[in-house]
Symmetry: C2
Subunit: 137 residues, 2 copies
């Protein structure tokens, strides 16, 4: 079996912040939403069901923990979770913090065209928050 | 704790086909995509992490099984999974079959405006397929 290599489009559009439950943890490089990607380090996986059952259970538990944690972030009223993969086939899970005043609400972020880079302050806050959480997890 | 009641918007827009892993199994009433909703029968749940850990694990496993199964449906090349809930707050998970010639591809179905009712034949096929699978599961 080939080894896992992060897809270059995922790598290019995000900041790699570490690992959790056999997933690469990425922060998307743009707002306006707090937007984390979990990429299971399993070569060739495209669908959730491509993961072996035990790894799938670990990844699912990671989604639960990230969802719960993100719901405590400032301004987050709702968490959206998705595994889509129509454009980048490597399996990746989205965990996105939403609030009822955000520019895509109540629509989904995946069809929201206007990406805005995080400000340096926002980016630093997000990165610090995630790294601290990963270090304590 | 109050008892579980299916949200009237979910009930109105779908056909209730039974239960699986403590979830109501619904077929959305329109195409053009095969589109199943899993609604965990847990009162007041809005987020995935509102489910108790054991139920969450069962629901996650159900998602895996539905995803795997739906990938074998005629014409399905990719499965999209999501837990959004920005419009209907009752927790529900989408499992949607996609293919690269469908009218929303490569976008997501949630922002695709044109809903088309299933033909009677399509609806009967979907209902029969799901009921048969649930009966054998």
């Amino acid at each position: 079996m080939s080894s896992f290599v992060l897809h270059e489009r995922l790598a290019r559009g995000s900041t790699d912040l570490g690992r959790y439950a056999h997933c690469r943890v990425l922060l998307k490089n743009h707002g306006p939403f707090p937007w984390i990607l979990l990429v299971p380090e399993w070569p060739e996986a495209r669908e959730l069901h491509d993961l072996p059952a035990e790894l799938y259970a670990q990844v699912s538990d990671a989604v639960r923990r990230f969802s719960q944690w993100m719901s405590t972030w400032p301004g987050v009223e709702k968490v959206n979770v998705g595994a889509i993969g129509n454009q980048v086939s490597q399996l990746h899970l989205h965990v996105v913090g939403r609030h009822s005043q955000d520019p895509a609400w109540p629509g989904v972020v995946w069809s929201h065209g206007e990406k805005t880079p995080y400000s340096e302050v926002e980016l630093a806050e997000h990165v610090a928050r995630i790294k601290e959480w990963l270090a304590s997890a």
